[in-house]
């Protein structure tokens, strides 16, 4: 009678991560098919399989069925247990790819999560561990998660060979707080981390110089740290990157990042990152573009009260995420322009589902 819960149905390889997360959080089985079915190389990629394995390890009782061709998966979610886990990430994607969905799940596990991931720490596609540490985790603080929430970067690893290692610690919550964040405030400080591994340590200083040349005009409170890892801790490949974040008076954070490319000077990378930060700031909103889904998810999972948040224009990912949230939790957002004048800022408000961490044990 109660065992026959309806199976959510999605297709396509896009948005796999948040769909899996939503399924595990809502407890509804999910079936995703047509995964690259028209591709020359059909089916799941190695990093996706690795992600599925990771999800299986941080949960208990999860059943994952992958079709023979790998173009369809069925996930029957179990409960999130957490605990201490070590996982080797393939070098095809960076650690950020795996950490982003885990951050969404970890607060709702049974035991505090202590996750060690090994692989590439920063690449072009996903959030680097620096950004996750300095931007993503502060976003979780908006929802009442702060104690013992930590990301330690033990070793850095640049593509293509990686060799980095991070440790992610996350506490358990009973229920996330309702968010009411409509004042973006004005930028009061800019911070950044320039790191360089297996290249000249001067590279990071050069990046800092270049970045300051763009940003110094706005605000004096700029600290860009040079973070050089040496020897064992610097991974297997050379590389450098600059990640920047701008914090406003109300705590809204915008961030950007640029990673080293072959035949690109550190100055170019720094300029790229700084300009990306400026354009990100220009987009406005209380939450960074890359963290829209995280914030919206936590709003949906809040208590049965109205949560509000002001965001910039939603990204494609966000739009699909909103649709999938409606399918999983039955919650839709009210989206209205934040004020009549400014053109692209939107006010998202929703009624929380009153999601209580049922996995948390009292014993």
């Amino acid at each position: 009678m109660s065992g026959t819960t309806s199976v959510l149905h999605f297709s396509g390889h896009q948005y796999l991560r948040h769909r899996l997360v939503l399924s595990i959080l809502s407890g509804k089985p999910v079936r995703i098919d047509k995964i690259r079915s028209d591709d020359k190389n059909p089916g799941l990629r190695d990093y996706e399989v690795s992600l599925l394995r990771l999800l299986e390890r941080i949960t208990n009782g999860t059943i994952i069925e992958i079709s023979v061709t790998g173009t369809a998966i069925l996930l029957k979610p179990g409960i999130i247990v957490g605990g201490s886990i070590t996982h080797e990430c393939p070098v095809s994607r960076s650690i950020g790819y795996f950490l982003e969905p885990i951050i969404m799940l970890a607060p709702f596990s049974k035991k505090p999560l202590n996750l060690t991931l090994r692989g590439i720490t920063s690449d072009e596609q996903d959030l680097s561990v620096d950004l996750i540490r300095t931007v993503t985790l502060p976003h979780l603080q908006l929802f009442g998660l702060s104690d013992e929430l930590e990301l330690r970067i033990k070793k850095r690893g640049s593509p293509p060979l990686g060799g980095g290692e991070i440790q992610f610690l996350c506490p358990v919550v009973k229920q996330v707080k309702t968010l009411n964040f409509v004042e973006p405030g004005r930028i009061k400080r800019i911070r950044g981390i320039a790191h360089a591994v297996r290249v000249s340590p001067q590279f990071s200083n050069r990046m800092i110089e270049a970045s300051r040349s763009v940003l110094n005009r706005y605000i004096p409170d700029i600290y860009l740290y040079s973070d050089v890892y040496k020897g064992e801790d610097s991974g297997k490949s050379p590389g450098y990157a600059l990640s920047l974040l701008a914090e406003s008076t109300t705590g809204a954070i915008h961030c950007s990042e640029a990673v080293s490319k072959p035949s690109a000077a550190p100055e170019d990378i720094a300029l790229l990152a700084s300009r990306a930060l400026l354009s990100e700031i220009k987009k406005g909103g209380c939450v960074d573009e890359k963290h829209q889904t995280l914030v919206l998810l936590m709003m949906v999972l809040g208590s049965e009260d109205v949560g509000r948040c002001r965001l910039g224009t939603p990204t494609e990912r966000t739009i699909q995420f909103l649709r999938d949230v409606r399918d999983c939790f039955g919650t839709s957002f009210k989206i209205v322009p934040a004020d009549s004048e400014s053109s692209n800022e939107l006010l998202f408000s929703c009624y929380g589902t009153g999601y209580v961490n049922a996995n948390r044990s009292l014993a």
Binding site: Q14, G78, T250, S361, L362
Partner: protein, 1156 residues
């Protein structure tokens, strides 16, 4: 002593004493609190008093809880009347209903909702004696009227119910003692009251309210007593209970079967049904898409939810001015399962009760709802089509001309048939009574042109009732789109009231009175307006069309193109990329078709080298696009977004929150004003100085205030934790209310926030077992409980459990137990366990005495911290206390690790020094390999280790010990064996049985054997035999001579042979000297005397003991006698009670439903 009587007292007329008294007389007597009397004398005392006061203040505080029930329109309070059979529950219910509505119900069934005050409605519910019903009622009731037979005392059911309440959140309880008139002696009455009160208080809390009801007058309790009770009910305040504050639920006051009749006929009534339940939503907001659980039936899927007009609305604004509820409003009662107005709604039929003799033309008999309905049916003399063709629509009752629509016959009939469909959905009985359906339809039309119809007189209303409007009771609008029907339902019947007042039959009158729906004609008048708006775009859901309209308007207004994100995201099929690009929803579909084959090619060059869209978080940094930031102008344009920046468009709305950095410059403020000001730019330009000055002044003022506050009293600005929390909660609630207020469309609102508590809804359930309808009994409450997403799943639930101290048997692992947990009642098989030194969960075979233990079972998940109670059986025939255990949920998991001890034994077959070969412990070398390194032990306590398997006897192994073991030793290995709870989950489906109390779940093997008459199979090896133990013989210890020689003296065995030769002393005889002789004799005498003394003393003591024993025996006998007397007394009372009951039963016939 002299016998002189004492002098009588005379008050002194003069002197100091008389003076004092006289002066005191002048002063008026001090009343109330005398401050001087209680002022503390010492500083210490003052300190202690202060502390005590503060502590007392703290006890008043409770953890602030959010109350999710809306303040403006709360659902009716559920007041349940609970008690053993024959205690007077129905009488109380009738009296209370009579008190609130002035109507007498003959056969109150199901929930009865009445208006109790200006802002209060009450749903009364009588709970029958079934344990399942008691459990369900305990889960939903806000207030319990717990009835106790004063002449008999507490019964087991009362205690059971209180314990059920305790485990499900303990709502408020008022005790009511009835049958007090049966106690004749005043002294006994007083004593009984006192004793019962004392017991009641220990059970609930000291000072719990206990009411006394004396006898029954006219089948009701005395009016004054009921009035008092109703006053107590009305001032009752309710603290939200945690479980109900996190779940939506509904107490169904009406249930209907919507299954097509044909389907039922074909399946001979065995097909799954489509059922609608009606009731007020309570708890949190109900969302479509979640599952609901009906206790006694199971988990069900909601097909649709629709908000209906309130059948028992609160008094509205016009009566708001009055302090008290007007008499007219008092007449509202909503009780579809009862016989209000002679109509009873059953699951698939409507019964019309016609009092006395009834003829059609007879106008003297006041006609109830039912009669009118039937007569209307008989009056129909035109077909639907005709009626529709003739019907006209007037927007307002006062409008002269009806609306003239284009007479498209097809359209009309279409709408009519639509209407009909809706109706048939609305009214379950409609499917059975086709004429009725038709009629209601006709009535629909009638209401549209009420006046018109009256003029035409197409349908003569059999008897002229003086009413202008026809009444439809059962119908409630199925949502906003059917607001025409809403209108019909909300007709106010002031006239009919006066008409009834004319009749003099008071009793008769009230019995045939109808259900009333209040509503304002004024309100209804503007409804058709909205209707017409709707009519234009019927195909599109209303909110969507609305949005598009708004969107297009917005588009026209502002040059900048604005997207309607809600519609684009939730309402269109556009891909996210298309939405971002800003494709038009209309054109996109064609575009997509055109581009279909190009699409993939396009993607190929856009995306990464692998030629597919990658799931990435960071967008690709487009260097070309970012080049634009070389432009100085652009760089300067965002200066306003930084705290150092001064101008720019962004800062006007961005300055909240930063106090420290804000430097308010003139331009800044001008800008702000320009945005806010509605076009009077000139004024702003004129005096920028003035605005600047004003702003500065305001800022200074604020700073000054802040400083003053901090300087004067730094404490006062801070609120205490409690106040702060409360304020925070209130702020959030206010926000919740305000946020969606502008979303006018209820459907769109339901989409974002769910169906609000307090609204009267109709829930359509699919795949309902047919038995629920077939065996429907209005005496058993139907609770529809919403489930959280987590609760729909199954898993292993770990609970902390304690056997109830009144339950006589112990609970055994793997015996089925019925749990009442969350909304559900289910039977499952728990395994009891205890935490063994925090290392392992160790299975317990039986629950421990007076102690909590853990239990793990397979079943539906409930959130941790949910309370539960457990039963061994629900049947009323079970003797004794039926609640077997209570507890709380601790943990949810998908696997469990409970272990039980397993001892493997073996015997040595060869012993070396500290090494031995052990056999008979394992069966194969593989098993040994598994246990290599495991600790083993002999019975005598010598510890050892498993080393390696031996080849020869299969399963034997080599083991080493700390000492040499004996051949007679038994070696054992202590291991832990994991056991899994059985995956057995059996929902208690009492509502699906014809005899609700007779539900039976899985039985124990012993019970099955007993019922089947099968003997327990006897294993020969299990029988007890006499144990024969041969006494052990120990050989003497022999130490080799060589060894003995080399031993140190201390370790040498001291083996000395017994002396055979006589010693020197033995050889000689001793002769005593005379004085010595004397001394010995004296000693002997003294000893003899002493012996004699002791003997005598002992004798005496024995004598005393015997006496005491005799005395004790006597007392014991006396006590026994007393006990016997007491028992006799008790049995006599019980006999009297049962006799009385039997008499009552005879007297009232079928009313009592005691099962025995």
């Amino acid at each position: 002593m002299d016998a002189r009587p004492h002098k009588a007292h005379h008050a002194s007329q003069s002197g100091a004493k008389a003076e004092k008294k006289k002066s005191a007389k002048g002063k008026e007597k001090q009343k109330g609190f005398n401050e001087k009397a209680f002022a503390p004398k010492s500083g210490r005392k003052a300190d202690r008093l202060g502390r005590r006061n503060v502590e007392r203040d703290q006890t008043r505080l409770h953890v602030p809880l959010v109350n999710r029930t809306p303040d403006d329109l709360p659902p009716p309070v559920i007041v349940a009347i609970v008690g053993p059979p024959g205690v007077g529950k129905t009488t109380l219910l009738k009296s209370l209903v009579r008190r609130y509505t002035k109507q007498t119900l003959n056969q109150p069934q199901g929930p009865i909702t009445v208006v109790a005050g200006k802002k209060k409605r009450i749903t009364f519910l009588e709970c029958n004696n079934d344990l399942g019903s008691m459990v369900d009622v305990a889960k939903v009731a806000d207030l319990i009227l717990l009835m106790i037979d004063g002449s008999y005392g507490f019964e087991m059911e009362t205690f059971e119910f209180l314990n059920i309440l305790q485990s499900h959140g303990f709502p408020k309880v008022i005790g009511i003692l009835s049958h007090l008139d049966l106690i004749k002696k005043a002294a006994t009455l007083r004593a009984t009251k006192k004793a019962l009160k004392k017991r009641f208080w220990t059970e609930i809390y000291q000072g719990a309210k206990l009411f006394y009801l004396s006898g029954v007058l006219n089948g009701r309790y005395p009016d004054q007593e009921i009035l008092n009770l109703s006053r107590f009910i009305s001032v009752m305040k309710f603290r939200p209970l945690v479980f109900r504050n996190s779940h939506p639920y509904l107490l169904a006051d009406r249930i209907e079967d919507l299954t097509p009749r044909e389907e039922i006929r074909e399946s001979k009534g065995k097909c799954d049904r489509i059922v609608t339940v009606y009731g007020y939503l309570r708890g949190t907001n109900l969302r479509l898409g979640t599952k609901v659980h009906i206790p006694g039936v199971g988990d069900l899927e909601m097909k649709s939810v629709s908000i209906l007009g309130d059948p028992c609305p609160m008094p509205d604004a016009d009566s708001e001015k009055r302090r008290k509820l007007s008499e007219k409003k008092k007449l509202l009662v909503h009780a579809p399962m009862s016989d209000v107005g002679g109509v009873i709604y059953d699951k698939d039929a409507v019964y019309i009760n016609v009092p006395g003799s009834f003829t059609r033309g007879n106008a003297d008999v006041p006609q109830g709802e039912g009669e009118r309905m039937v007569m209307d049916l008989q009056d129909v003399n035109a077909t639907l089509e005709d009626r529709v063709a003739k019907s006209q629509i007037k927007l307002f009752g006062t409008s002269l001309k009806p609306l003239v629509a284009d007479p498209g016959p097809s359209r009309l009939s279409e709408s009519a048939s639509e209407d009909e469909d809706e109706d048939s959905e609305d009214e379950g009985f409609g499917s059975e009574m086709e004429e009725d359906d038709f009629d209601s339809d006709v009535e629909d039309d009638e209401e549209i042109d009420e006046d018109e119809e009256d003029e035409q007189g197409v349908i003569g209303r059999g008897v002229n009732t003086g009413r202008t409007a026809p009444r439809v009771v059962h119908r409630t609008p199925a949502g906003p789109s059917t607001s025409t029907t809403k209108q019909s339902k909300e007709v106010d019947y002031a006239e009919s009231d006066s008409e009834l007042g004319d009749d003099d039959f008071d009793n008769f009158d009230s019995s045939s009175r109808r259900i009333r729906f209040a509503g304002d004609d004024e309100d209804n008048l503007d409804l058709p307006d909205e209707d017409d708006d709707d009519g234009d775009d019927e195909d599109v859901p209303r909110w969507k069309s609305d949005l598009s309209g708004k969107a297009s308007e917005a588009f026209k207004k502002s040059k900048t193109k604005k997207k309607d994100w809600i519609k684009l995201i939730y309402g269109s099929d556009l891909t996210p990329a298309q939405i971002i690009r800003g494709d038009d929803p209309q054109t996109s579909s064609t575009n997509e078709d055109d581009e279909d084959d190009i699409f993939t090619i396009k993607r190929l060059d856009v995306d990464g080298p692998s030629g597919e869209t990658v799931d990435r978080t960071k967008e690709v940094l487009n260097e070309e696009e970012l080049k634009q930031w070389e432009d100085e102008e652009l760089l300067d344009s965002i200066r306003g977004l930084f705290i150092t920046g001064s101008s720019g468009q962004g800062d006007a709305d961005r300055e909240g929150g930063d106090d420290g950095y804000e430097d308010l410059e003139g331009e800044d403020f001008e800008d702000l004003e320009a945005q806010e000001g509605s076009g009077d730019e000139q004024e702003n330009v004129q005096d920028p100085e003035a605005t600047k000055a004003a702003a500065l002044a305001a800022k200074k003022e604020a700073l000054k205030r802040k400083f003053d506050e901090q300087y004067d009293d730094p404490e006062s600005s801070k609120q205490d934790f409690y106040e702060e929390k409360k304020e925070e909660i209130n702020r959030q609630l206010e926000l919740n209310r305000a946020e969606f207020e502008d979303v006018l469309d209820p459907e769109a609102r339901a989409l974002v926030e769910g169906y609000k508590a307090g609204s009267y809804v109709r829930i359509e359930l699919t795949n309902v077992p047919c038995e629920m309808i077939e065996y429907f009994d209005p005496h058993f409450p139907i609770v529809v409980g919403g489930l959280l997403p987590a609760e729909e799943r199954m898993g292993y639930v770990q609970v902390r459990i304690k056997r109830h101290r009144w339950f006589t048997k112990t609970l055994k692992t793997n015996d089925p137990l019925i749990f009442s947990l969350g909304w559900r009642r289910f039977q499952t098989v728990p395994i009891y366990s205890l935490d063994d030194h925090s290392i392992r969960m160790r299975m317990l075979k039986y629950t421990p005495e007076h102690m909590h233990c853990y239990a793990t079972f397979y079943g539906p998940v409930s959130l941790p911290n949910t309370g539960f109670c457990a039963f061994n059986s629900f049947s009323s025939s079970a003797s004794g206390f039926r609640i077997s255990a209570t507890g709380v949920v601790l943990d949810i998991d998908r696997s469990v690790k409970i272990v039980k001890k397993l001892k493997l034994t073996g015997v040595p077959f060869k012993i070396f020094k500290n090494t031995a070969f052990i056999k008979d412990m394992f069966n194969s070398a593989l098993e040994v390999a598994k246990f290599e390194g495991a600790n083993i032990r002999t019975v005598s306590g010598i510890r050892g280790q498993v080393k390696k398997a031996l080849t020869k006897p299969e399963g034997a192994f080599r083991a080493t010990f700390e000492d040499k073991i004996l051949m007679s030793d038994i070696v054992f290995l202590r291991a832990w064996y994991t056991i899994q709870p059985r995956k057995f989950y059996n929902p208690v489906t009492t509502l699906l049985t014809s005899d609700k109390g007779a539900w039976q779940g899985m039985r124990l093997t012993g019970q099955v054997r007993l019922e089947q008459g099968v003997k327990t199979p006897l294993n020969v090896n299990s029988t007890y035999k006499k144990v024969e133990r041969t006494p052990r013989r120990f050989n003497p210890l022999r130490i080799p001579k060589n060894l003995q020689a080399s031993l140190p003296y201390a370790s040498k065995p001291k083996l000395v042979k017994a002396q055979t030769r006589q010693t020197y002393l033995q050889k000689r005889a001793v002769v005593l000297e005379p004085e010595e002789k004397k001394a010995v004799a004296l000693l002997q005498q003294i000893r003899a005397l002493r012996k004699d003394q002791v003997a005598r003393r002992k004798e005496k003591q024995n004598e005393r003991k015997a006496k005491y024993k005799e005395k004790l025996e006597k007392e014991e006998a006396k006590k026994d006698e007393k006990d016997k007397e007491k028992r006799k007394e008790y049995m006599r009372a019980a006999g009297m009670k049962s006799k009385r009951e039997a008499e009552k039963e005879e007297g009232r016939g079928s009313k009592r439903r005691r099962k025995d």
